[in-house]
Every structure is written in structure tokens, then in C-alpha cells.
């Protein structure tokens, strides 16, 4: 598609921009600042604040010839309107002349600021935005030194209005730009806040219960051009200039959002350096300038006082603190005797470096490299993922996205947001799910199936099967066959490991059969529940259906960043029976309680490393907290296998994560050429944020620390669809009246890394099964029911939910319950 370019003059400078660009953006691209409050480059313009007034002249056109009328010098005659125009709502046109620095414009800016400040409290000293406030900055630059308005006539409004438990509103500071309201309704489809009253009495109100019920609420504090919206988490926490910033990556889901930790040494924390807040960091390929509230607020686990502080060794049936040497020696000795009867089980919270070292140790032993995940198919994602250069932010007309068995809004919020925006740009969306999701509204086709029918539903899209399929599938299949590029995203909604592996295989087959492989913006993505599960697959770890059996038979099981015993009673039994259990963890989890040796580890903010996102983008995180800070004795995950390896004569890097990455690049083809320097490379991004541009894009941080590198493509082909179709096990129904239970994933889960954040507690998922009221009545379910798993039953609370499909029960993951059937 050829974009028509338009040339215009801004302050005497010739500028060429694509047609449809707004004057304010065109000026920004030319390096000319036009101050704005209500305009935001990610939102539709409204022209509410009038701060961007400029003089705009257009060439006169002769109606007869449709040519510019020329003056004596042969230049087009320019006609300036009698009034100033808003640069944020005016698109550029050919030959336009914009003046942003005339006396008239300067005076207008000054007057508008004087108006805006008529009711602003000017309590900058106590305002959390003070120091990074667009209103403050623009007033200093363009505003009047004194106001002609009477001080006594300022509006006095409530200064402490909790919109929800996460966000506070200061009504006095609000300048009524509507960025927050527009963000919530336009961008994230959560219209839970709005304007009430009008004129000077205009106020922001929330009309949801609970208040400000949105998973995106924190972003409104970033784009608020004043300190009207602040997070409860950071309220009066520190002044912006007092904090240091350190780049990191969120590891709570597969998206891999870029973020910044703001840290400060604190007397309250006993002189330790602590994280004061989490801010988004721009990466237009990943999270743009946004973060979900989980990523923003669930960091408190890092400074939890429950963290493991020193190695523990089991003596006389009790775990007792021990020195590193003692623990390492014991593990080395046990590893020697275990030989290849060793199992390494890793979770998706580990970095690539940790996974590599743990994997190398296991390979040297001849042990098994197992990945702890309830979702399979990562090996297929490695082969079929969208190749380098793909960007969900570029999908538009001609692109089709198929989302299967996945509530993206809960499982990978930023992907949900980017898909929604892609639909706005013209992309087509097909949603196949068993229950209604927040994506249905934007889908061109919604395919509803019964739980258990996921793989068969996707198979119906295949060209060979489509003829006999229902009408909606036929029409959807036509859309995706004709698509220029096709992205298939699968999740684990209602799926266990085997089923999701089978689903992944069918999705890959669909891509292959419709010729959507190896093309930019085409491929397979998985909504993993952790930040680096894809990295686990890339580095040779695999999920296995018979995990319990393997754990039980092993002479030594080494678990890193996973809590199988806490999640699954069957695995707990297996772990208890295993020969020798080594756990490296942050907390004393259920699994750690059963261990023979427990190693304390560092959180990502205390060390260096890299994650591989669901899109196979390797991204680097940097240490934010000083070493020997919160837990002085703990070590990074990759150091522990290296220290054990040293005793066994296996050479592994135990000190520098950068060197481990070099070893990874040397061994794994997909990582070839990746090193820490390349991961730190940046490029210019649009819109510009950070620096003095706070008024433009909000307080997101500019990305100076690396945009990440997508892993190299692996050759594709039909043979790569191996293994053959997976047979899933049929589960025996315990009684005629039993309801099948399906697992679902929710954003605010009860994971080890979420629970310590007290602020989120009100929103966490409750340990209960969801049943539709009608189904509950049919099956005579009361407030409690029996959840049956592997022949054993536990009592569980029943929550009636209209959102649940009939004839099934849904069980959120991470609540410490597991079951296949529900009985009254």
C-alpha cells in the first residue's frame, strides 16, 4: 500500500508526512513542540484543552482550474483564517503553512494556560506528579508568571477520592482533558469512568462496582497530564527525581512487557533499597507504552519478608538452615549417586540463562529436562511463530487473527489490547472459545464450541474438513484462507496439558495447510502463563504427560521456580515419594517444604538476565536493586547449577549472565548471534515519550536499554508437524450426575508471585468453582460441592456465574484445587 505524502511548511521548515497526519504530530516529527494536554498520540483527538492553538494558512485554490493561485513571486498565495486552529484535530493538507511561534500563538497559549490554572490548586509540593508534570512543565515554558484571576474564586473540591482501591482521584487538580475517560472507553473498552456535571463543575466519576473496575487503570495515571490520578501503591511514596530507574521485563505472562523499576533507599525499609513503583517502558513491538495492573502492582513479592534467606537442609526430618557449602556438597554427592536417574523440572519464571545452566547440568548427568506447564506445544511455536520483523502493532487490513481457547484479556492483556487495535485498523478477528470472552465484541466471526471440542473445532477449519462444517466455520475458514497474513493464538482455557498439545498441533497444521508459514506477521503464538515458558521450550525443556510417574521414579528431582506439590495433589504425592528433592525457590512453597535441600534465589530485580517472550523475542532485564540487598545470602538461579557443576567437573558460568548468553548463542541455533550488546540495541520509536515530552505521551519511560531481538527462524515443513496427532486420555465419569470441570486462567491468580501484593487482594480469584445458575439447579448444587480428582474428593465452594456455559463447571487455576468432576 503506497501512502500518499503531503508536504507542508511548519515555522518555515518544509515537512513531508503521510496524508491524514495531524498537524501536531507533523510538527513533532519535524522537532517542533506544540504543547498539548488533551491530545495523546494513541488516542483519537478531541480538541478539548485548546492548548495546541496555532496559526494555519492554506493555499488559495482557483476553482476553475483546481490549481494554486500564485502571487507575484510565483509562490502560492496563502490564506490565513481569522482565528487560531487546534493543531491536534487538524489533518495536514498540501501546501499548508503552520506558524507555531507568532505573537498571536504565544499569547493564546499563555491565555489558555491562565484559564486552565484558574481552578488548579497549585499544590505541586505535595503532588505525586510534581517533577514529571506536563502542566508544571508547560506552565514554566509557555504560561503567564501571574494570574489575573482572583485566588478566592478557585474551586475547592475533594482531594482524596478513591475511584477504586487502586486509583485515587484529586478533583481539584483535574484539568478536564478527558485522557483517562477516553483511554478507558476508546482504547481498552472499559468505560467505567466518565464525566459528570459540566463546565467548571465537571468531575471524573466511576460507575462500576467495584470502583474503577479495569485491569488497565494504572495507565490512566501515566497519561494524566496533572496529578489528578495517582496509584494507591505509590501515593506519596517519593518524589520522581529522588528515584533511580532501572529497566526490566515483566514475567507475569507471555507478553514480556518492558518496564522500569523506580527504586530508592528508604529509612522505612531499614535503609534498604526498595522498589517504589513500576512504570511502563516503551517498546512499540511489545507493550507500546502500556502495562496491565498486574504487571504494575504485583511486584511486592520481591521485598516480601517471607522470602527464603539461606539454604535449608533436611536433618532429622526437619528443614534447618545450613551453609551454602554444606548444601552444595550434599546435592553434589546425591547427584553423583543418582547418575542419569535425575529429573530437572523448571518453571517459566526462570531466565534463559538459568534454564541453560540447569539444562547443561542435566544433560551432563544424562537426566531429563522437563518443563512445568499445563500447556504444551511450545516446540511447534518455535517452528511456526511469526518470524523476525513481525509486529502485532502492524496488523491491519488483510491480516486475520484466530484466537482459540484463550481469554486473552485475562491471559495476555497486552495482546488483547493490540489485537483490538488491529481490528480498528482493519484486521479481521476470529474467536473460537467455549465461553464468552472480552474479544468476542471485536471479532468478525465468533465460533462457540463445547469444552472438549477445541481441537475438533480447529480441525474443521482445515481445507480438507471445511466442506462439512457448520456455516460460521465455513465462512470463518474462508476468511482465514484468503488472509494475507494469519496469526493463530492458542491458550489453555479449559485444557489440560495433553489437550493443549493436541490443539497446538492442529493450529500449526492449519497454518501449514493454508500457506501461512514463514511469512512476516503470520504464525503461531501461545498465551503462556509465565514470562519465559517459551524460553524453556527453545532451550530444550519439554512438558510430559506422565510427570507424576517420572518424578516418583527419579532418584533425584531438582525443581526450580515451580511448585508442583502446591498445584496438584497427584504431583505432591509423587514428589513426596521421590528419592531426593532439591528445590531452588523464592519462597517456602509446598514443594520446598518437602525438599531435602532448598536453595534461596534472587528475584529478577536483583540480578541480570533475559527472557524469551511468547513472540520469541529475547529481552534483557537489568539489576534494579543492589546485590546483597533484600536477601544477602541468595544467589541467581543460574549460579546454583554452575556451583554444583564445578564440583562435578562440569564447566558452567556461575557469575556473569552475559557469558551464559554467549554459551547459549554458541549452542542453540535460534540464539545464534544474540549477545547482551545486541539485546541492548534501541531504535527510534513513535510516539516519542520520556524526557521533556511528558506532555505528549505520558510518563512512560523511553527505551534506552534495548528493544530485544527475535529468535532466528527455524526451518519449516510438514515433517516438522511431528509428533503425530496426540491421543488424549478419556476420563471416567464417576457418577451419572457428575459435572465435568474445566480449568481456566484468570489475570489476578493466586500465584506465589502475586499473593504478597496486598493491594491486589480484593481482586484475586477466589478458590471456588464457577457454575451457571441453571446448571447448578439441575444438578442440585448448593454452596458447597465435592470436587473429584484422581479418585479423591475435596469440598469446594460453588460460585454461580452467568458467564459460565451450561453443563460444565469452571475452576480457576492457581487456587490450590484441581479436579475433573464436580458432584453435589
Amino acid at each position: 500500500m503506497v501512502v500518499k505524502m503531503v508536504s507542508l511548511t511548519i515555522d518555515g521548515r518544509a515537512v513531508a508526512v503521510p496524508a491524514g497526519t495531524l498537524v501536531v504530530d507533523a510538527a513533532k516529527k519535524a522537532g517542533i513542540d506544540i504543547p498539548v494536554f488533551c491530545y495523546h498520540p494513541k488516542l483519537d483527538p478531541v480538541g478539548m484543552c485548546r492548548q495546541c492553538l496555532v496559526e494555519i494558512g492554506r493555499p488559495l485554490i482557483d476553482r476553475a482550474t483546481n490549481q494554486f493561485i500564485l502571487d507575484a513571486d510565483g509562490k502560492p498565495k496563502i490564506s490565513f483564517g481569522p482565528k487560531l486552529e487546534t493543531a491536534c484535530t487538524t489533518p495536514v493538507s498540501e501546501g499548508m503553512v503552520v506558524v507555531t511561534d507568532s505573537d498571536k500563538v504565544v499569547a493564546a497559549r499563555k491565555d489558555v494556560l491562565e484559564f486552565i490554572l484558574t481552578s488548579h490548586p497549585l499544590d505541586c509540593p505535595i503532588c505525586d506528579k510534581g517533577g514529571e508534570c506536563p502542566l508544571q512543565n508547560l506552565t514554566m515554558r509557555y504560561g503567564p508568571p501571574v494570574s489575573r484571576f482572583l485566588f478566592d474564586e478557585k474551586m475547592h473540591l475533594a482531594k482524596h477520592v478513591p475511584l477504586g482501591e487502586l486509583i485515587y482521584l484529586d478533583r481539584e487538580r483535574c484539568i478536564q482533558c478527558g485522557r483517562c475517560v477516553r483511554f478507558q472507553s476508546e482504547l481498552v473498552d472499559d468505560p467505567v469512568i466518565g464525566f459528570s456535571q459540566r463546565g467548571r463543575a465537571l468531575q471524573i466519576v466511576t460507575f462500576s462496582n467495584p470502583g474503577f473496575d479495569s485491569i488497565w487503570s494504572g495507565n490512566t495515571t501515566d497519561i494524566c497530564p496533572v496529578g489528578a490520578l495517582t496509584t494507591a501503591d505509590f501515593r506519596f511514596g517519593a518524589r520522581p527525581w529522588e528515584m533511580n530507574a532501572s529497566a526490566s521485563i515483566c514475567n507475569h505472562c507471555a507478553v514480556g512487557c518492558n518496564l522500569t523499576y523506580n527504586v530508592r533507599r528508604e529509612a522505612k525499609a531499614g535503609g534498604k533499597t526498595v522498589i517504589k513503583r513500576v512504570m511502563p517502558r516503551q517498546n512499540e513491538m511489545v507493550n507500546e507504552i502500556w502495562l496491565c495492573d498486574k504487571g504494575r502492582l504485583a511486584y511486592h513479592y520481591m521485598e516480601s519478608d517471607q522470602r527464603l534467606e539461606q539454604p535449608l537442609v533436611r536433618k532429622g526430618g526437619e528443614l534447618v538452615p545450613a551453609g551454602w557449602d554444606e548444601a552444595l556438597n550434599l546435592v553434589t554427592e546425591k547427584l553423583r549417586s543418582a547418575g542419569n536417574r535425575m529429573v530437572m523440572l523448571v518453571g517459566g519464571r526462570l531466565s534463559n540463562e538459568d534454564l541453560f545452566n540447569l539444562g547443561e547440568l542435566t544433560e551432563a548427568q544424562g537426566g531429563q529436562k522437563l518443563l512445568y506447564s499445563y500447556m504444551g506445544g511450545g516446540d511447534l511455536v518455535s517452528r511456526f511463530a511469526p518470524p523476525k520483523g513481525s509486529n502485532l502493532g502492524e496488523l491491519g487490513a488483510g491480516s486475520v487473527v484466530l484466537v482459540v481457547a484463550c481469554d486473552l484479556h485475562q491471559e495476555a492483556p497486552l495482546w488483547w489490547l493490540r489485537l483490538k487495535q488491529a481490528v480498528k485498523r482493519g484486521a479481521k478477528l476470529i474467536v473460537a472459545s467455549a465461553r464468552p470472552t472480552r474479544l468476542d465484541k471485536f471479532a468478525t466471526h465468533v465460533v462457540r464450541y463445547a469444552y472438549g471440542e477445541e481441537t475438533r473445532t480447529v480441525a474443521a477449519f482445515l481445507p480438507v474438513n471445511v466442506a462439512g462444517a457448520p456455516q460460521v466455520i465455513q465462512s470463518a475458514a474462508k476468511t482465514l484462507t484468503e488472509a494475507e497474513d494469519l496469526i493463530v493464538i492458542y491458550g489453555s482455557d479449559g485444557l489440560y496439558l495433553e489437550e493443549s498439545t493436541a490443539l497446538a498441533r492442529t493450529c500449526a497444521e492449519l497454518l501449514l495447510k493454508t500457506n501461512h508459514t514463514g511469512k512476516v506477521n503470520s504464525g503461531l503464538l501461545a498465551a503462556w502463563q509465565n514470562g519465559n515458558l517459551q524460553g524453556g521450550w527453545e532451550l530444550g525443556f519439554r512438558t510430559v504427560p506422565d510427570l507424576a510417574e517420572r518424578l516418583e521414579k527419579a532418584a533425584l528431582v531438582w525443581v526450580a521456580a515451580a511448585d508442583p506439590a502446591g498445584d496438584d495433589p497427584a504431583l505432591a504425592k509423587a514428589v513426596r515419594r521421590t528419592g531426593f528433592l532439591v528445590v531452588q525457590e523464592l519462597f517456602l512453597t509446598e514443594t520446598a517444604r518437602m525438599a531435602d535441600v532448598v536453595f534461596p534465589v534472587l528475584v529478577n530485580a536483583e540480578r541480570e538476565g533475559s527472557y524469551t517472550s511468547g513472540e520469541r523475542r529475547v529481552q534483557r532485564f537489568y539489576p534494579a536493586l543492589p546485590p546483597k540487598g533484600i536477601v544477602p545470602e541468595a544467589r541467581p538461579d543460574f549460579a546454583i547449577p554452575a556451583l554444583v557443576g564445578e564440583k562435578l567437573g562440569i564447566e558452567l558460568e556461575d557469575h556473569s549472565a552475559a557469558l551464559v548468553m554467549e554459551h547459549i548463542a554458541a549452542k542453540f541455533a535460534a540464539f545464534a548471534g544474540i549477545n547482551y550488546q545486541r539485546l541492548a540495541e534501541v531504535a527510534e520509536q513513535w510516539p516519542p515519550v520520556g524526557g521533556s515530552d511528558l506532555y505528549y505521551g505520558g510518563t512512560s519511560y523511553l527505551n534506552r536499554q534495548g528493544l530485544g531481538v527475535t529468535l532466528s527462524d527455524v526451518l519449516q515443513g510438514e515433517s516438522l508437524l511431528n509428533p503425530a496427532p496426540i491421543q488424549t486420555t478419556q476420563r471416567q465419569k464417576p457418577s451419572a450426575d457428575a459435572l465435568p470441570v474445566y480449568p481456566i486462567q484468570l489475570l489476578y491468580d493466586r500465584g506465589t508471585t502475586i499473593l504478597p501484593s496486598a493491594l491486589l487482594h480484593e481482586r484475586l480469584v477466589q478458590p471456588a468453582v464457577w457454575v451457571h445458575p441453571t446448571t447448578a439447579a439441575e444438578h442440585k448444587l448448593q454452596s458447597k460441592a465435592r470436587l473429584i480428582y484422581e479418585g479423591e474428593a475435596v469440598e469446594v465452594a460453588v460460585l454461580l456465574s452467568e458467564q459460565t456455559p451450561p453443563k460444565v463447571a469452571l475452576l480457576p487455576r492457581s487456587v490450590g484445587l484441581l479436579g475433573y468432576w464436580l458432584e453435589a
Partner: protein, 163 residues
């Protein structure tokens, strides 16, 4: 020589210029910059609102402030914010008075006290308790329980900003 003895004799009857410090103390000048004092309002509320502008202005990085939120049940200062930690490292302080200039509520004032001595680095850190002036007569100590909706302004309205 006689002339010299004369001078000696004369000076013997002059009033001595030395004073007997520390028994005697000389009053300091009006603009003297001694140890900082954190002021209170007449009702005993602290003037300091924990804005940390003094810390920002401090060229020696001697001031450390942490703030927290006031409630009507537990109020330290007018408005929403108060200093939960306020520390000045007197070893670092150069008594320039920038903190005083930066303060929006005139809470921090360089006082008359020049008698600072300590025997360790830790002692040189003056905490909020040490810096706060005593509760004025008729005032209440902080935290106070206050009626709702009265102390809503952090920064007092100044009648004459040039004062």
C-alpha cells in the same frame, strides 16, 4: 618604654572584648544560619508537609525525607501529606539556607543554635524528633485527631507572597 607601659596600664582598665563562653553567650545576628528547626503552627500541627523540596534544593544532599498520608484521626500537618521521616546529616550540611528558601510552608528555618557536636557519624544525623520545635503553648502534640474537612490545605494561603 614609658609610652609602652602607659599603653599596658591603660588597657588594664578597659572593658575586655573576650566573653566567657560557654557561660556567656553572645546573641546571634538576625540572619544567622544555625541548626535547622522544624516549625509548628500555633495549634501544634507541623508546618512540614514532607514535600522534599528542601532535599531537592540541598547542594550537599544532606536532607532525607520520606512522606506518608495524613488522616483526620492521625494528623501531623495540614493537608494530605506529612513527613514520616525527616533527617538532616549535620556533617554534610553547609548551612547555606537553600532549604529554607525552597520550603513552601516556611517549615524549616535555620535557627540560632550553633552548638553542634557529635562523636560519631551516626550521631550527626538529626532526626525529625530532634529538629521539631516544642509544641507552642495552647497547642497539641502531633499526631492530632482533627475534625474532618478543616485542614485540607497543605500550603497556607499567604497574604503577601513577597513577605
Amino acid at each position: 618604654m614609658l609610652e609602652g607601659l602607659m599603653t599596658t596600664l591603660k588597657s588594664m582598665f578597659e572593658k575586655p572584648v573576650t566573653i566567657q563562653y560557654p557561660e556567656q553567650k553572645r546573641p546571634v545576628r538576625a540572619r544567622f544560619k544555625g541548626r535547622h528547626v522544624l516549625k509548628r503552627y500555633e495549634n501544634g500541627l507541623e508546618k512540614c508537609i514532607g514535600c522534599a523540596l528542601c532535599a531537592a534544593a540541598c547542594p550537599a544532599d544532606a536532607i532525607f525525607v520520606e512522606s506518608a498520608e495524613n488522616t483526620d484521626e492521625e494528623r501531623y500537618s495540614p493537608g494530605e501529606r506529612y513527613a514520616s521521616t525527616y533527617e538532616i546529616n549535620m556533617l554534610r550540611c553547609i548551612f547555606c539556607g537553600f532549604c529554607e528558601d525552597a520550603c513552601p510552608t516556611e517549615a524549616i528555618v535555620l535557627g540560632d543554635n550553633y552548638e553542634l557536636s557529635f562523636t560519631s557519624r551516626a550521631e550527626s544525623i538529626y532526626t525529625k524528633d530532634m529538629l521539631l520545635e516544642p509544641v507552642p503553648p495552647g497547642g497539641q502534640p502531633t499526631p492530632q485527631r482533627t475534625p474532618a474537612g478543616v485542614f485540607t490545605r497543605s500550603v497556607p494561603e499567604m497574604k503577601d507572597p513577597t513577605d
